[in-house]
């Protein structure tokens, strides 16, 4: 591959950019960028070399940062990123997604905003906030955050979102109305007879796999797959060491290949099971799972990997990356089979996006 491999990494203390070639052996690191602001989510457009970064300063509030030169210079804006003077204060930006000319931002408290000028001006997607269940949404441990935005790749009228402790939703009419997409997803933190509600599931990460209808999610209560755009979900947790984890990644061209990082449990510390670091890979859409740990620490690895801290790029073979709250960044250039540390001593890593830039 002739292009550069670029990782954009959001951390609690700024954004970082790592660059390598197609071999992905040596990496250079730049940062902290975005003036050291806490950055929850980043998105990179390989064609235009535009990077977007969403986050929020404890002093100066939420904003979306933008660079049009692969991170050399930055601007920021939160124009329109508000529920109005009578609405709740937006704490931070949790998610960024881009589809054609539209950029989406997910925020805390949970809501969706869109921009048609690459982040300079924002407008509230009121249809989601007006969903009849909104009054009953409750925050989880990570707050009431909209953390996953999945625009349909060919139908601009369709978008899925994931909201912590609330669940998944889809619009099929250009964001005017939204429907819950949680059937079959377990909420094992509810009483036994209430574990499959219409909403209230704690989705941790929502992904589209095949460009059409195949979705995956890592949830508080397991890993799930949908073949019909989220109308019905199937539990694919069996074979994994834990129901609990945060991130997932999906192969860019083979929708049956996914990666996840199970943690030992919601109430057991949320670190690698037995303190041995591993990424789990499936090549059959979650029917079976393979533990991939070569190159990862196998003792005293009390590592936590958060929901956006896994990235996948489209080199051949595909590269997979994840970052920990301890500031370590690991990469695999053989589709997750073997791993090596590519950065350490970063601030707590909150997000990792990977791309091949020409």
């Amino acid at each position: 591959m002739g292009g550069s491999t670029v990782l954009v990494v959001g951390t609690r203390k700024g954004a970082f950019i790592l660059e390598s070639d197609g071999q992905r052996k040596k990496w250079s690191t730049r940062g902290p960028l975005c003036e050291g602001w806490p950055i929850h989510a980043m998105a990179i457009d390989p064609g235009s070399r535009t990077i977007l970064a969403g986050g929020g300063s404890g002093w100066y509030g939420p904003a979306v940062w933008r660079s049009d030169d692969l991170g050399e210079t930055w601007t920021h804006s939160s124009a329109g990123l508000t529920y109005g003077d009578d609405g709740p204060k937006i704490e931070t930006v949790w998610a960024i997604a881009r589809r054609n000319g539209t950029v989406y931002a997910g925020v805390e408290p949970a809501g969706l905003f869109r921009s048609d000028d690459c982040g300079a001006n924002w407008s509230h997607v009121e249809g989601l906030t007006n969903h009849p269940t909104r009054k009953d949404w409750q925050p989880g441990g990570g707050g009431l955050c909209l953390h996953s935005i999945v625009p349909h790749p060919t139908d601009d009228n369709r978008v899925w979102v994931g909201i912590s402790s609330v669940g998944s939703f889809e619009t099929r009419d250009g964001r005017k109305t939204w429907e819950t997409r949680n059937r079959g997803v377990r909420a094992d933190f509810m009483p036994p007879d209430q574990q499959f509600p219409e909403f209230g599931q704690c989705v941790h990460k929502l992904l589209l796999a095949d460009g059409r209808e195949r979705l995956y999610q890592q949830n508080h209560s397991g890993v799930f797959r949908s073949a019909d755009g989220g109308r019905q979900w199937e539990d694919i947790t069996p074979g994994l060491p834990s129901t609990f984890g945060f991130p997932m990644g999906v192969h860019p061209t083979r929708p049956d290949t996914v990666w996840t990082i199970p943690l030992n449990g919601a109430d057991r510390g949320r670190f690698m099971p037995d303190a041995k670091s591993a990424v789990w890979r499936s090549d059959d859409a979650g029917k079976t799972w393979e533990r991939c740990s070569e190159g990862l620490p196998q003792s005293n690895a009390y590592q936590t990997v958060l929901r956006d801290a896994m990235g996948v790029e489209a080199n051949d073979p595909v590269g997979v990356y994840f970052g920990t709250t301890g500031g370590e960044l690991y990469g695999s250039s053989d589709e997750g089979r073997t791993w090596r540390e590519i950065a350490a001593h970063l601030p707590p890593v909150w997000s990792v996006e990977a791309a091949v830039v020409g």
Partner: protein
């Protein structure tokens, strides 16, 4: 015109903005609105829903902690100072 003194952490968000600049207004709210005309985006960094001055930003007028409704006169010096917070 009042003199407004801005902190370093705010100046870096708006490259080229001087640390001390003049702004007009009868209240802090009007002063910040005028600042926003001179430096677009400044209102969003200093003010939140309500509107109110952001929780972790302090504005002092003539040495006294101010709200958006605090009067400002032409000879006022207004300091914007980030609060002691973070980690």
């Amino acid at each position: 015109m009042a003199v407004v003194v801005l902190p370093r952490s705010l100046l870096v968000l708006f490259p080229g903005t001087p640390r001390r600049l003049e702004a007009s207004g009868a209240t802090v709210r009007e002063l910040i609105a005028d600042l926003d005309k001179q430096v677009p985006g400044m209102w969003d960094r200093l003010c939140e829903t309500g509107p109110a001055i952001r929780t972790h930003v302090n504005v002092f007028v003539a040495g006294e902690r101010a709200s958006l409704e605090t009067p400002v006169t032409g000879d006022s010096t207004v300091h914007v100072i980030p609060a002691v917070s973070g980690g």
